[in-house]
Amino acid sequence: MHEWALAEAVISTVSQIAEKEGLEKVAEVEIKVGELQQIELDILEFALSQLKTLKLKNAKFRIKTVKAELKCRVCGQKWIFRKEKMNEEIAEAIHFVPEIAHTYIKCPKCGSPDFEILKGRGIWLESVRGLR
């Protein structure tokens, strides 16, 4: 359950932000999850609920998924990553380290592995709201 490690990272970072901004209670946390990393949202949500600290007890986690958009640096082609097109072993390798995409995915137009991940790479903390 690699999602558990990422959930711990979210809780730890939210706690640090709450501390820094002097929040007594955290009310809402907005998280973006890029599709390239293929995070299992059920597991992530479960882990977040289990790892909540006192300050985060009533916090609501809003999780938005973001399509993984890739752009070839050589020919400029843009495309969307689709897990269904991957074999399971490769999809899992990309799940653990999304940059492994450069090992297995090529530009559909020119075949280059030199592409940019424009959006939808992995997990990102969008906002933390709470009461002071």
Binding site: M1, A5, S12
Partner: protein
């Protein structure tokens, strides 16, 4: 707003007593061989040791250690497999035998990901095999691992030392501890490197003669430790101080 992975890195490394980056400004000076041999030597002396290959585009420690067919365990993160008494982590678990053409931003992201999800647990030493140079990986390691110390590897060549010197000067300027410098592949008597190092107030940990037998020992750790090279690395006692 924030990358949540950064905030957990210190926590992931809190059980590690010493974090040692084996580094060089120059490629091909023997960093990976020295990092692997140091890690194996310490493990055989009953220390708990991890080895982390951070050379994502050109990993080689798996070849030195003869690692094949292993995968980390997934348990609330990833747990590095035990290899010859070491906890061993490398990107090859995921990239296999294929090329990983990564730009700097990708190297940074992969580095942050692995630091955020790898569970090292309790270690006396985490030896980090660094990629050559002073670009993204080196800057990220300095930025993200506050307790890191560097062991710098050079060869007697003035060409190698020209870039190694720049790494040493950069680390010194940033106040990053340089534990010592090792001169590898020495072929004739010269005190040039030692004088350059000691002249900067940095510890010279010694020299390792060029070992023509070393290539034969790659992939076999017992042979590796029995080479002149292996024995000489084993004499680097200063790491424990």
């Amino acid at each position: 707003m924030a990358d949540p992975r950064i905030g957990i890195i210190e926590e992931r490394l809190k059980g590690v007593s010493r974090i040692v980056a084996v580094s060089s400004g120059k490629g091909g000076v023997g960093k990976s061989l020295i990092a692997s041999t140091l890690a194996l030597t310490l493990a055989r002396r009953n220390y708990k040791v991890g080895l982390f290959d951070l050379d994502f585009t050109s990993p080689s420690t798996h070849v030195i250690l003869g690692v094949e067919g292993l995968q980390p365990k997934e348990e609330k993160g990833i747990i590095p497999p035990q290899v010859h008494g070491l906890k061993y982590m490398s990107i090859v678990y995921y990239s296999g035998e294929y090329a990983s053409p990564l730009r700097g931003v990708d190297v940074s992201n992969a580095l942050i990901e692995l630091l955020a999800i790898t569970r090292w647990d309790e270690l006396d030493f985490l030896i980090v095999d660094m990629p050559p140079g002073i670009s993204d990986a080196t800057l990220d390691v300095i930025r993200l691992i506050k307790r890191i110390g560097f062991v710098v590897i050079t060869t007697p060549s003035r060409l190698a030392f020209e870039t190694v010197r720049k790494l040493i000067d950069l680390l010194s300027e940033l106040g990053i501890p340089i534990m010592g410098v090792v001169e590898n592949m020495k072929m004739k008597e010269s005190r040039f490197i030692q004088q350059q190092i000691e002249g900067r107030g940095i510890k010279f940990w010694g020299d390792i003669p060029f070992d023509a037998e070393l290539e034969e020992a790659i992939g076999d750790v017992n042979k590796l430790l029995a080479t002149q090279f292996g024995k000489k690395v084993g004499e680097i006692e200063k790491l424990k101080v």
